[in-house]
Structures are given as C-alpha cells and as structure tokens.
Symmetry: C2
Subunit: 189 residues, 2 copies
C-alpha cells in the first residue's frame, strides 16, 4: 500500500475553481466552490483575498497545461507552418471531447465583461502568449505580414473554440482548410 | 405638445433584460431586472414564466434590429461578394463603438453553457439564420464549396466579434483582408 500526499485546501480550491468555472461559468458561488473543495469559507478567505483572486489564481495555475495541450514542443524540428497547424489540430481534437466549452481564457473574458477584473487580466496575458507564438512562427516561416497572420490565426482560434464550445460546429474539414488558406495567402510554405 | 405612449411593463422588462444581460451577463439577478424596468417581481412572473423565459424573449425581440444592423437589404443590386463584405464592415464599425461586448447571441450561449436553455435555443436559431445568409450568398456567388465558405465566414464573424468584445482587437486592417482571402480562395469574385 502506498500513501499518497492528499492535496491541501489551497490545491483543492484551485482545482474546484478551475473545474466549476469552466463547467458553470465564473458566476459560480463561493458556497459551491467551498463545497466542491471540501473547504470552509473561512479557509478560503484565509488563503485567497477574494473569490475573484481565487479564480484568477486557478486560471494562472492552469496555464502550463493549457500551453502543453496546444503548442508543439520547442525546437521539435518541424517547419513553422506545421507547428502552426499543430495548434489547430489540437483545437479540433479538443473540440470533439465531451464537456468541451471552448477556450477557458476566452470564455472568462466574455463572461466577466470587465477588462480590469483580476481573472480577465490573467486570461488576457495567457492569450497574448499564444498570439506571440503565432507571430514568432509566422516570422520564422517568412510570412509577408507576420503581425496580420498572427492576428488572423488567433481570430480563427477563438472563433473555432467558441463555436465548438457552444456545440454548433465540430470543426472537421473546417479549421485546417481555413488555416491552410491563410498560410498560403501569407506565403508561409 | 405630443403625448407619447409610455412603454408598458412588458416592454420595459424586455428592454431591461436586453440591456443588462448584454452589459453584465445573463447571470443578472431578477431584482436588478425589476429595478431597472420599474416593475415588481410579481408583475414579472405574471408576464413571463421565469427569468429564463424573459431573457429568451428579449433575445428574440432584438433579432430584427440585429439583422438590420448587419445584413444588407434584400436585392440591393450588389454582388454576393459585396453583400458578404458588408456584414463584416458592420462588425468592424460595431466593434469600435463604446460598450461593445461582442455578438450577444454568441455571448449568451457561452455564458449559459447549456444548449437546452430557452435563451440558448433562441440565440442558436438567430445565428443559424446568419449562417444561411452566408451560404445563400456563397452559392449565388459561385463559391466552389458554399457550405465550407459559410462555415468559415461565421467562424471569422464569431472570432472577430468575440475578440473585439473583450477589447483585445480593433479589427482594423484584419477582418476585411481575412474575408477577402477566404472569398478569393473560394472563387467568389
């Protein structure tokens, strides 16, 4: 028999916030978060300044897994074009998974409608890193206008994950041809 | 002096629901809706079965204005290509307006995360009409694959309004070139 380190109240709150805000939205109540985490309200407010700060922290904690699930490994030897297409293959695969509600870092900003909210700030920063990835690969791939291509790619990324997330689009036969058209037009071969 | 017909409680509730759910999200409380409309809770529940039904009704009521603000008039003599581009010019202009939070019919579905919610159903139906407009114009314009082009256009539409709505993209120099690239690739001249 092995003994596993049981996650502490902080980890359980972060996990509950990540799961419940994704499933039910950022409007989820403090009661529900505490109940799911098995933590008292008192403990929550000892560990985090506010529910907003807990949600922001949970988004930040989730960033490495988000990045790993989308981006190719650094220096994997593939062309910039293939590295960009890799991201969209992941979006297509994720979009098919049950319980997919779109990109959490887009949803949270749409739901909060407040750019100064701590969770919006975290989400914006993480998505800006995705934009930077696209721009870097666009530059490496010799895109005619790397800035334009990067903005187009993240627009398609957000449109695709939003539409798959609300269950009106399965992305099959859509996302790859769209990205290929944009890459071709930008001369990224 | 003219006498104006003062909007009744039903109209005031629909107006309050449209404004407040757009500004603050569908999680807005019944109290806030009643307060903004100057209507008692009792009246709300006499007029609508539930808050969900009120929100759904307000989305439905807003559809003609939404369509008029985006789509060109029927038979305006312009080419299908220009009629499609017209929609995206409207999106770009709307995206610059203060208080823009993206397409309300996308946001509500993202926020609710429940495809069977009455408001999600209304929103889905209205967006399906936009998809139909794109497909019809794509067919008329001789697109190689009208279905694919229509799906691409609504993907760009949703990505663009979402990103403008959260204040990370102004769409200038982005949305028209993107749509032009997709139209060119589909042979819609």
């Amino acid at each position: 028999m092995t003994t596993e380190a049981k996650p502490g109240p902080r980890e359980r709150l972060l996990e509950a916030a990540a799961t419940l805000t994704y499933q039910d939205g950022v409007g989820i109540g403090v009661e529900a978060l505490c109940k799911a985490a098995g933590v008292s309200k008192r403990s929550l407010y000892q560990l985090f300044e506010s529910k907003d700060e807990l949600v922001a922290a949970s988004l930040k904690e989730g960033a490495p897994a988000y990045v790993a699930g989308l981006l190719p490994p650094a220096d994997d030897g593939r062309s910039p074009r293939d590295r960009i297409l890799h991201v969209f293959e992941q979006v297509e695969a994720q979009g098919r998974a049950p319980g997919f509600h779109g990109c959490r870092y887009l949803s949270v900003q749409i739901e909060l409608k407040d750019q100064r909210h701590p969770a919006s700030r975290v989400a914006r920063r993480i998505k800006r890193n995705l934009l930077t990835f696209f721009r870097t690969e666009a530059e490496r791939g010799g895109a005619r206008d790397p800035e334009l291509l990067a903005r187009q790619l993240i627009l398609v990324f957000d449109g695709a994950s939003a539409r798959a997330g609300i269950g009106v689009e399965n992305l099959k036969g859509l996302i790859t041809p769209t990205v290929v058209t944009l890459l071709d037009a930008a001369d990224v071969r």
